[in-house]
């Protein structure tokens, strides 16, 4: 294992100390238990957004705390959901009296821990609504199963619902918008290499020098299929087909597109992926209104990429364009 770390057990704590030292103007970091809140929290009268999940997906979620996005992020250990006490304390710390929205990726651990925290916060009279993201088309969906994983669309939910909350909308409306973003978003990822969880010390999975994993999860979970590596255009074709066919997206749709790096893939490759994605959308009459290209929801140092498309309407685009000022996403201010 080759990493720029000290003791594997201290990775998350030291990362948080780094964030605290780097961005005192944007966020406040609480160490015991771990959570990050925006510098001016709690904002009186504003719906507060709390998200969280395992660490190792940076900049998700801590990098999205700030004006126009999250009020708090709760980082768990690497790839491990945060605990109810973290989420409960963060919820209390940002509650401004207008209710709190929990944004939860659909993993059994995340869902259960947020559920326990919501019960605890509600017990103290804080109104909590929850939106669960589940946009990963690589996973079969069915009534009898856990359902799909929450991946890239989570970034969109945090941005758009964050803007809605900043605009003063009430909890029910912010939650409705968050759900709308999730329902209109679909993602798929792929990996060329594995990642290594620091405390595990060795790669999560083995993969041949000429192989790739299609439909990978953001924790290095196996995906849909393992196959020989192909040219980027063919890989994007496969991913786009799975994504577009799922909602399905139709000619005339307007979308926000994200080409996301898994952590170890350079930007030069992400633009090659975006090129093909834009060509495909163009050919199908789908208009990409906005885009993000870079590392937004990662899997440690894994090489690979994911694509997220979200069908947008005027309201969602307006909230997308609204100013945001966080360590990892910033525009308009």
């Amino acid at each position: 294992m080759k990493k720029l770390i000290n003791k594997p057990e201290n990775v998350v704590k030291e990362e948080l100390e780094g964030i605290a030292l780097a961005h005192p103007d944007l966020v406040k970091v609480h160490i015991s238990p771990h959570y990050i809140v925006r510098a001016d929290a709690p904002v009186k009268g504003k719906v507060a957004l709390v998200s969280g999940g395992g660490s190792g997906h940076e900049p998700l979620h801590g990098g999205y705390v700030g004006v126009g996005m999250l009020d708090a992020a709760c980082p768990g250990e690497v790839f491990t959901s945060p605990t109810p006490d973290q989420i409960y304390e963060a919820t209390k710390a940002v509650s401004g009296g207008a209710g709190v929205l929990h944004i939860v990726k659909n993993y059994s651990g995340d869902v259960m821990n947020f559920e326990m925290a919501a019960e605890m916060a509600q017990g103290e009279g804080i109104e909590v609504a929850t939106v669960i993201t589940n946009d990963d088309v690589a996973v079969e969906d069915s009534l009898y199963t856990q359902g799909r994983r929450g991946v890239g669309v989570t970034v969109f939910v945090e941005k758009i619902a964050g803007a809605a909350a900043e605009a003063g909308l009430p909890l029910a409306k912010v939650a409705e918008i968050a759900k709308r973003v999730n329902e209109n978003g679909r993602s798929m990822g792929m990996a060329l290499t594995s990642c290594t969880v620091p405390v595990a010390g060795k790669p999560t999975f083995d993969i041949g020098d000429d192989e790739m994993e299609i439909g990978i999860g953001i924790h290095g979970e196996p995906g849909r299929t393992r196959m020989k590596i192909k040219p980027a255009d063919e890989i994007v074709d496969m991913m786009a087909e799975a994504i577009l066919g799922d909602l399905p997206f139709k000619s005339g749709d307007r979308v926000i597109a994200m080409v996301n790096g898994m952590g170890g893939t350079p930007l030069i490759e992400l633009y090659i992926v975006y090129r093909r994605l834009a060509q495909i959308c163009e050919a199908k009459g789908i208009k990409i209104e906005r885009n993000l290209i870079g590392n937004y929801i990662t899997s440690l140092e894994m090489a690979g990429a994911s694509i997220t498309l979200m069908r947008a309407d005027d309201e969602l685009l307006k909230f997308w364009d609204a100013p945001v000022k966080t360590p990892a996403l910033r525009w308009g201010m």
């Binding site: 768990g76 491990t80 856990q146």
Partner: protein, 212 residues
């Protein structure tokens, strides 16, 4: 009777087993999950061990609830709420006792299983810890009702847990991370079912004195 000392020994023994089996549990999780179950459980029971002295003079119920709370706040993932709920429900089921009859032990494990099912919404056959716990609790109950001594009953429960754990191998997961794999989850043993089997095995190994 299971004394408070027995309960404490069980917890200590299980913490040690988790420590020894950390790699193994993590390996199982690597195949169909995210390679952290052993790490999570070890972190949790390490914390339990360091916080146990503070409640050792309390009753069994208080001790078990404390264990649950420590697990909830240190394990994270799915294991945290599930094992946390399991121990908290055990504590609530036995109340402020200092020793447990075989019937108390049945009540305790029954409540534990109920809590896990409520929290995780999993049913037997979903390829989770419920698949080890369900037959174990059932075997324990039947043996105690049939008048067998607790140690024998626990041996049967452990055997049933082991069979349930092994029976997860061919299953396609419907809950937890492994479910994202669909058909590809078949052929691997569930890590949570394995740690649950070890929980029964630890009780059997520790509660082995004549009058248990």
């Amino acid at each position: 009777m299971v004394t408070k000392a027995d309960v404490l020994n069980w917890l200590k023994h299980y913490a040690q087993v988790v420590d020894e089996q950390k790699e193994y549990l993590t390996q199982l999780d690597a195949a169909i999950g995210d390679a952290d179950h052993g790490i999570n459980m070890q972190r949790g029971f390490g914390a339990v061990m360091s916080q146990l002295p503070a409640v050792e003079d309390k009753d069994i119920g208080t001790i078990l609830k404390k264990v649950g709370m420590v697990l909830v706040s240190t394990v994270g993932g799915a294991g945290g709420p599930l094992y946390g709920t399991l121990f908290m429900r055990m504590g609530m089921a036995v109340g402020n006792k200092d020793a447990l009859s075989p019937e108390d032990v049945v009540k305790m494990f029954t409540a534990a299983l109920e809590g896990v099912k409520q929290r995780g919404k999993a049913e037997p056959g979903d390829k989770t810890m419920v698949d080890a716990l369900t037959p174990a609790v059932e075997a324990l109950r039947q043996a105690v009702e049939a008048g067998e001594d607790l140690h024998t009953a626990l041996e049967k429960a452990t055997a049933a847990a082991e069979a349930g754990m092994k029976a997860t191998i061919p299953l396609v997961a419907r809950k937890g991370r492994a479910s994202y794999l669909g058909e590809r989850s078949a052929g691997h043993q569930d890590p949570g079912a394995t740690s649950s089997y070890l929980l029964f095995k630890s009780a059997t190994d520790v509660w082995n004195h004549a009058d248990a």
